[in-house]
Amino acid sequence: MTTTAAPEVRSQMRRYIAQRLLMKGDSAPLGDDDLLFTSGRLDSLDAVELIMSIETDHGINFSDIGFDLTRLDSISAIAALVGQPSAEPA
C-alpha cells in the first residue's frame, strides 16, 4: 500500500476524474464537493474503473469496508475514504 497525503490524493483524483469526464464530452467545471455519480456525470463503468484504481493504488478492499458508492461520490469523499484509518487493510 502507498501512503499518500490528502492534498496529493485530491489532486490525483481530480486529474483522473477530470480526464474521464473530458473523454465523455463533459468539460464543465469540477469542484471537490461536486457529485459525480448521483448527478449522472459518471456512470457505473466509471465507478468500476475508480474502484479498481483505488484498490490498486491505495490497497483498499471494498468488500472489507462495506461498499457504498456515496463514499466515492465526490473528490472530497474519495480523499476522506482513502485517508481514513478504517479503510486501510490490516
Binding site: 473523454m23 457529485l35 448521483t38 456525470r41 456512470d43 465507478a47 468500476v48 478492499n61 461498499f67
Partner: protein, 492 residues
Amino acid sequence: MSVESQSCGYAAAGPLVKPSWRLIPQIDQDPRLVAGLQDIGGRVVLCCAVGLFAVLFWQINIDFSAAGLALACAYAGRYRRVLILLATLLLLYRSGFLIDRGFIERLSIGEGVAGRIRPGLLEAVMPVVVFALFAGLLAMQGTGIFVFRRPTLSLLLAFLALVAMTQATIMAGMPRVVLWSFLMTFQPYLWFLAYGLADAGRKRSPAWWHLSVFHPFWGSSLTPFGKGLSYLDRFEAKTPEALAVTQLKGVKLAAWTLVLAIVRICLVDLVHGRLQLPAFDDNLLQYLAGHPGPRFVGWASLVSFFVEDMLSMTVFGGVIIATARLAGFRLLRNTYRPLESTTLAEFWNRYYFYYKELLVDHFFYPTFVRCFRGHRRLRMFFATFVAACVGNLLFHFIRDIHFVGEMGVWRAVVGEQSHAFYTFVLAVSVGLSQMRSAPRPASQGWLRGRLMPCLWVSSFFCLIHVFDAPLDREHSLGQRAEFLFYLLGVTT
C-alpha cells in the same frame, strides 16, 4: 454541491450539436423566473400552471393529480416530512396498498375458504402487519447481525423461502391464503425495503422517514424512482432558490412529457388506426396460429412496438420525475434520449435509469467488490452478468410472483424461459460491451462515432424485444425463436 444537468452526465462520445431553438424553453435558467417563483405571486402562478397541466394530462388519460400534493409538500416548511408521509399514505390507501385483490380472491375460492374469510379485514390488517415489520427491520438495522450486513441477499432469500413455503401441502387452506396475503402485501415494497435497509445501515434516521418514501406519492413501479432516503436527501432542494429551479425543471419536464404523450397517441392512431398495422403480439399470435402475415408487416410491427414502448416508458417516467421535482427533489430523468446510445450499457442507462440503478446497486457492486478480484476482465463481466441476467430475472420473477400461486412453482419457472433467454443474451452482450468500451475521443466523426453505433444499439434492443414481449408466460422460447427466424427470412 452542485447537481449538473442530465445532458451533461449522459453526453455520448462524438461532437454534440446543441440546437439554438428549443421546443420547451429553458425556463429554469431565467433568473427573473427563478426569483419570481420564490414569492407568493410566483407560487400562485405555478399552482395554476400545474393545475392546467393536470387537466391537459387528464384529457389524455394520464393522472398528474399528485402534482398538487407535490406543491403542498414543497411549501410545507417544517411539516414537509410529515406531509410527504401523509401524501404517500393517502395515495397508497387510494390504490388499496397495491395488493393484488383479484389474486387473493381467486386463491380463497381455489382453497375453498372464500366463505370463511373476510377480505376487508385481511386487507386492513396486512398493511399494518407489513409496515410494522418494515419499521422493526429498519430500527434493527446497524445492530451487526449478519442478515443486516447483507440486506438484499437476506431479503430475497427470506421472500423466496416464504414463497416456497406456500407450496407445502401442510399449508393448504386458510394458512396458504394468509401467507399469500402477507407476501402480496410485502412484494410491492420489497425493493424499497432493500434500499431502506442499505440506507439505515449508513445513517440513522427515524423509520417513518424511510417508510414515507416506500412507493412515494410522486409514483413508482416496483422499481423505486428516487431510490431511498439518502439518495433523495442529496437531490432535495435546500434553499428557496434551489427549490424554484427544481420546480421549473419539473414544469419543463411536464411540458415535454405532455408533448411526447400526444406524439405517442398520434403515432398509435397512425400506425394501428389508419395504416391498420397489427400490434406485435397479434402478429406473433397470427404467425403461431399458422396464418403468418407478410414479412415486412412483421418487421413494421416489431419496430412500432419498440418505438411505442420507448415513448410509453418516457411518458411514464416523465410524469413521476416531474412530480418529484415539483415537490423539490431534483431527480434525474428516468428515460433520456435512449436512441442516442452508442453502447449497449449506455442504452440501458438511458432507457430505464432507476431500474438499471437498482440492478447495479443490489447486484453489480456487491458482486464486483467480492468476486474475482484478481481478474480484471472476468470480474467486470461476471458482475455485469449477475446484474443483467440473474438480478434481472429475479426481479421479474418476484414482480410476477402471482404466477407461482396460479400456476405452481414449476410452471411459473418454466414460463420464464423466454425471458431467461432474453436476460442471458442481454447480460452477455452488455458484459462484452462493458469490457470493450472505454471513453472514446471525439474524433471518430459523426457517421462512425455516433450514427452507426446508435443504429446498431437500437437494432439490437429492437430485435431482442421478440423474447421480452408481454406474452412471455404463454409462449415458449422455441415459438418466439421460430418467429424471429421467420422475420429474418431463415424459415417461411
